[in-house]
């Protein structure tokens, strides 16, 4: 391509500090060199190379420490002022591999929440930070409210069933909940961020170390995408956690949704951008009707335009969302609920936009888009997986209800 990605899709350099620019460049090098430059190897030997490359990024290059508190050896990117930068970094990771991106996104959401609600949790923050400074790839796993099951009434988070309950016992909070499906990485997670309901049905977040007694893991779930993050259902059988590990502040769960929509939006956007590049290469080299390159056929060009438009607009909206959440860039003042609503609304739209871009682009690539060899199909599967996970249940219906509630004051939906 004649024009660079940075020109075409803008990196908002003006808004971004040098630190951020540095991290982004670094990650981009990792993406190009470790993954994009070695796609075939990476694909054929995915499980092993994923681990290897993720370790390079997270440990050698320090990305695992990005959202850790600054005073304790981290980069301190856990505060709302950094969300735009975090999303941008995750885009760079997503260009290479969505699983790695999702892994880091859950990590960054964890520390953003932990530090936001650090009051009274100094010990926990310190211990968690210390463990993430280890030379070990950490795997957090989020379990969000989602589908309930007939005959099992549960407390609700905006209509979605909260899968786990927490009881206050003398020995401390105790968690119960059967066959909970996390977003990803349930099989090997060393920490669960499980949304649960307290005795009054109020949603809160439990941080549960993966090796706690009382955690049962089901068999590995085979999934469409994000295949490196092996998932499994988990059950909490009277799992005891510390009081510090239970985050009952009412803003915690909306904030988790907000951050995941923003961060996973970044990951999917990155996958979309790499798909844009793959498609660009392909439409340059492919000939149609035995004559000119495919991209000079107006119908094909209009498909290329759809792809570009969806990605460009998704990118703008992601940036807008980051500004809405970040106090520094804030366009206007929204409370937690407003931020939550915009996050789920724009989050869903970004996932839909990127999926449309990839689906459209694959139309042009024909079977090449479908063969593993060209890597387009992996982005397609990974982003679709992220999209379905973010929906929660019922496709976009819950997000629509959230939106209507905020914009039209609906109360009973």
């Amino acid at each position: 391509m004649n024009r660079s990605l940075d020109y075409l899709f803008g990196t908002a350099v003006g808004d971004r500090g040098e630190d951020a620019q540095g991290v982004i460049s670094l990650v981009r090098q990792w993406a190009e060199k470790e993954v994009i430059g070695n796609r075939l190897d990476y694909q054929r030997n995915y499980a092993v190379l994923f681990e290897e490359k993720a370790r390079v990024l997270a440990l050698s290059m320090g990305l695992q420490r990005l959202a850790l508190p600054e005073g304790q050896g981290g980069f301190g990117w856990h505060d709302p002022g950094h969300v735009a930068d975090v999303a941008a970094v995750l885009s760079e990771v997503g260009r290479a591999d969505s699983s790695t991106g999702v892994l880091l996104a859950m990590n960054y959401a964890l520390f953003s929440i932990l530090t936001r609600f650090s009051e009274g949790r100094a010990g926990l923050v310190e211990a968690m930070t210390a463990s993430y400074l280890d030379d070990e790839l950490k795997i957090p796993s989020c379990a969000l409210p989602g589908p309930g099951s007939m005959g099992r009434e549960t407390p609700l988070y905006k209509g979605r069933s909260i899968p786990a309950l927490v009881e206050s016992r003398d020995s401390g909070p105790t968690l119960s909940g059967a066959n909970i499906r996390p977003l990803a990485a349930g099989l090997r997670a060393d920490l669960f961020l499980a949304v649960c309901a307290d005795e009054k049905g109020r949603p809160c977040i439990a941080l549960v170390p993966g090796d706690k007694p009382g955690i049962e893991r089901g068999r590995e779930v085979l999934t469409t995408g994000l295949n490196a993050l092996a998932n499994a259902d988990i059950s909490f059988v009277e799992t005891e956690i510390t009081r510090e590990s239970l985050i009952q502040e009412p803003e915690a769960v909306p904030m988790l949704f907000t951050l995941l929509n923003l961060f996973l939006g970044g990951v999917s956007l990155g996958a979309g951008m790499n798909f844009f590049e793959i498609l660009g290469d392909w439409s340059d080299s492919r000939v149609i009707r035995g004559s000119g390159p495919l991209k000079e056929n107006p119908l094909c060009a209009s498909v290329l335009a759809d792809v570009a438009e969806e990605i460009a607009c998704s990118r703008l909206l992601l940036h807008d969302l980051a500004r809405l959440v970040s106090p520094s860039g804030r366009a206007w003042s929204l409370d937690t609920e407003g931020q939550y609503t915009y996050a789920v609304m724009i989050g869903a739209r970004i996932q839909k936009g990127i999926m449309r871009a990839i689906n459209r682009g694959m139309e042009l690539m024909g079977s090449a888009g479908y063969a593993k060899e060209w890597h387009a199909e992996k982005h397609w599967r990974d982003v679709k997986t992220i999209q379905s996970l973010l929906c929660g249940v019922g496709a976009e219906a819950p997000v629509k209800m959230d939106t209507a509630r905020c914009f039209y004051d609906c109360r009973e939906i």
């Binding site: 989602g146 139309e363 024909g366 996970l389």
Partner: protein, 424 residues
Amino acid sequence: MDHFDEFSRPLEYLSPLDKHLRTVLRKNIEQEVMPLRRRYDEDWKEHALIEPAFDRIMGGLGLQKALFPQEYGGWGLAGSDYIFRFAYQLCEELGRADTGMAVALAVTFWPLLVIHLEPYVNERLIAEFAPMFCSTNKAVFAANAMTEPQGGSDIENMGLLKGRTIRTTARLEGDQWVINGHKLWPTNSGGVARLFGVPCTTRPGSSNIEDFAFIYVPADAKGVTQGGPYEKAGMAADKNGDIWFDDVRVPVWYRAHGPGRDAEAFYQLISFGQVASTAFLTGAMMNMYERLYEFVSTRTYRNRPLKENEAVAGVIGRIAGDIDICRILGHEAAMMGDRRNTPYGLPLGSEGLVGKIRNIKDFVSDRAVENLGKAMDVLGCYGPDRDWDIEKHWRDIKIIQLWMGGKQLCQMESARYFFNCETL
């Protein structure tokens, strides 16, 4: 609705075989395919699980013989006035279980149709190939080696390009055709097919339709080399690979019909393939409905079944409604094919029939891609889970939208017809 079969069909169109065949086929599929299909993805290279199912359905039930005349041990359906509708129902039933299996079977018919469909019947070749398919209980596959490396959909764009871009050549030497060329991606390649139908040119670069040749090549002929199957996003039961023809020699009578008529007979395949495609897609969507029905009836939002929430009902109602529409359209497309011999029908090779059927295929493909994606989202965190089968169909059917020239060729051929465009 009590059963997925209540999705609408133009009831007056149903072929005589319809009820019986569906019953038998459905039973076999539910026994042989459904229980194992979740493990097909890992079986893409070996076909250790997939092959026995093929043997049962194609060989055991004898479906692979369906086209051949009864005197050769076949069912004689190519001569019936409901061959398109028969193919539609077959492909829909199979597609419900596994669109990869469905396409492998349908494509076996494909090259054979070129010598079976009136007025393009080649008795000598029918007699020659009949035993290969009719005298065995094992699955036997054929393939249509069409696509070439340089331009995916060009060969199918006969209306405009008239074979100009074909690079696989056929040269007559004595009483033999000598074939050279490189094909890729045909269904049933990758080592599966025993017989290839090969579109080629007797004069490279020619836009004269007379120079188009359709020649049969047994897979074991000298000079035929096949690559291993490609690894794909889905559709594991359908193998695809490269085929090289290197001075391959076949008898002169292995050319289907001769100059001009080869192209006409071959062009008929396009619409057959599109009708089958709509059937695969509709079948897959019907199975999606079954699985979705279970999910929305047993899982909850606000502690009530998903389907009882009006907003969710709006989403799933549209999904089911689209299936109903696609099934009507698929049957209508099949009927368009079967009307070819009536005074009021359009010929198979006519711009009108090609354009209309391509339009329906394009439409149904888009609905399938959209609705399977949407159904995954309805399942939320269970959407990407193979156990719910929906993600399998979602992965599998994407290629149906892309094959045979893909969306863009469909769009062009239908625009060309509806607006009498001359240069598209």
